[in-house]
Point group: C2
Chain length 354, copies 2
């Protein structure tokens, strides 16, 4: 998930903080402030300020049929190994998925490792094997890399930054600026599996079986959706900050309202239980193998059917719609009919989830 | 500098080590072991195993005139600010230079930040400003980014991973596999300025004036060299591991010998003095604004003249030649005529220099 994964009117000015706090990395309000208050103005250019999951580049290569997509993501997940995955799979799938949701065919990735002195080499080998398998699974080639080592206590086992390039057919034009009132909000499966799996593993909570991360590559799923429908406005992988962050970014970027229906949200009972215990909201929890698609109303059924026919989309659900009201904001209608405004988390509930 | 910046017959098998040690990140023998023993076999593909400073990708974009270059680099330099630069400039120039030495026109970069909780925001702003200026100076656009925050004591202020893409004209074919006996080894300026500046700053050594990093973008310099000569076999930026690592990689990849002349090596007196005190070898020290070019003998003069006419190449020097003897090895002829074999450092002399 790039920094460009967060967007907000910079309501809280950065100077309120003198130092970096964990919440600056949490995908919530403070991350949005950092992105909008510091990074975007500093590197001001049209591509970056689109704040898509991937930069789409016009490269003068003599052909008008493809554009190049480019993305980057740092992974600092703790623990490094968790039920359903590890930092290596996450690092490959995260970057590949950021390309896929933009309609790109992912081709090549790079990986830069920052290792902590003392890391068992068997752990590194296990992570690398896992990345290798993830590359094979997604048909991408890892073509560039770097390794740095920092002293014990100056890092945490292993951090991996992956970047990726892919090709977008000229006919595909997805953007978080495209949503229109009437569009439907569809999610390809259950919410929060990844974040909850990591939290449970980190805190050694005793669940049997332990919740599993949903870490998976969504290339095929995205391709199927784009083949089935022409009115797909945008797709996103709702990682850090969850489906809430995705919908809020969308509402702000397209200047529309989004209305979600609580009873339509697909949440596994085990995830729901952990959320209750930890006092967190499934909409805020990171996913690593899901897609949120905003689709014209006439094609919502086709997209839902297509997702449900795919092994990764069996639990796909229509969870809400785009509205004219409360532009820039997301509301959730509860089971008993009340509406509440869905905000970015202001602090950091789930540090180092990806 | 990608992991692909290090190449060696994997003489010391990795299993000798059970844990990551600092030297695995030092650009010496252990880094080479890690690259050749773990990363390259794991991600086995033709592009990666070329081990150039940048991956050159054939992307089916309908034009035969350009190829795409792609590179990545993690920066963990300590201290973050040092005489002549900071981690931000380094992160931009390092990636841009990896593209430039491959003959690419750098176009776009991404940046992923891993911040330590507690980092003063003014420090982050200073780093970002510095990156912004470096982007302007090199005419690249930063188009994708990511930010993660780790708890205090799990990182060290700020780590930055930059990746870059650029275009290589179809006519340019540089490779460390291209060197031939008779070729000349040319370096564009004095050795070791960056590494020594960082070491002096880190240890608070009292030099007046303090040694300055040579951090600079070598795009124009590389372009000038490629315009002046057609027999350029390869160019490299001798960062971590210094000119020694570059020459050893070259000797191994092209299966040639390299013979350097100690008295031809351009070294600033102040750098020489610090090297004596610290007991290090200027050939092993990182540079951040230099180019090593391997050039056919007939064009060595033209390349030298071209470099010396450029502000960044005033101290350019012919420092040795490629020979048929001792294939895969680099020797240095001392001032009194003896030869010694130049090895990769086996341990870590200068951690976190870039």
């Amino acid at each position: 998930m790039p920094a460009n994964n967060n967007r907000a009117a910079c309501a809280i000015p950065i100077p309120r903080y003198q130092h970096v706090v964990l919440a600056h990395g949490g995908g919530g309000q403070l991350t949005a402030d950092l992105v909008h208050g510091l990074f975007v103005p500093a590197f001001s250019n049209e591509v970056l300020s689109q704040l898509e999951d991937q930069a789409t580049l016009n490269i003068p290569l003599g052909s008008a049929q493809w554009r190049l997509a480019f993305t980057t993501d740092a992974f600092t997940v703790c623990p490094v190994f968790f039920p359903g995955g590890d930092i290596g799979r996450l690092a490959v799938f995260g970057t590949v998925n950021d390309l896929a949701v933009g309609g790109a065919v992912p081709l090549y990735i790079s990986a830069a490792f920052i290792l902590e002195e003392g890391l068992p080499l068997t752990d590194l080998e296990r992570v690398v094997q896992s990345m290798r398998e993830a590359c094979v699974e997604t048909s991408v080639q890892l073509v560039a890399g770097d390794t740095k080592v920092v002293e014990r206590g100056k890092g945490d086992q292993v951090f991996i930054t992956t970047s990726g390039v892919g090709l977008v057919p000229e006919t595909v034009r997805l953007s978080i600026h495209n949503a229109k009132p009437g569009d439907r909000v569809i999610v390809s499966g259950t919410l929060g599996d990844h974040g909850i799996a990591v939290m449970v593993a980190r805190h050694g909570l005793d669940f049997d079986p332990p919740p599993q991360s949903d870490a998976a590559p969504v290339i095929d799923l995205c391709r199927a959706v784009l083949s089935a429908a022409t009115a797909v406005r945008v797709m996103r992988d709702p990682t850090r900050g969850g489906v809430a962050a995705t919908c809020i970014e969308l509402a702000e970027a397209s200047q529309v309202g989004v209305e979600l229906e609580e009873e339509m949200l697909p949440v596994r009972p085990s995830v729901h239980a952990v959320c209750e215990i930890l006092g967190v909201e499934p909409l805020h929890i990171a996913n690593e193998g899901k897609v949120v698609a905003i689709v014209g109303p006439e094609e919502a059924d086709a997209v839902l059917r297509t997702m449900r026919a795919h092994p990764l989309g069996r639990d796909a659900a229509l969870i809400g719609k785009v509205v004219e009201e409360h532009r820039g904001m997301v509301t959730v209608r509860s089971r008993i009919g009340g509406h509440r405004i869905l905000l970015r988390p202001a602090g950091e509930q789930l540090p180092r989830i990806c």
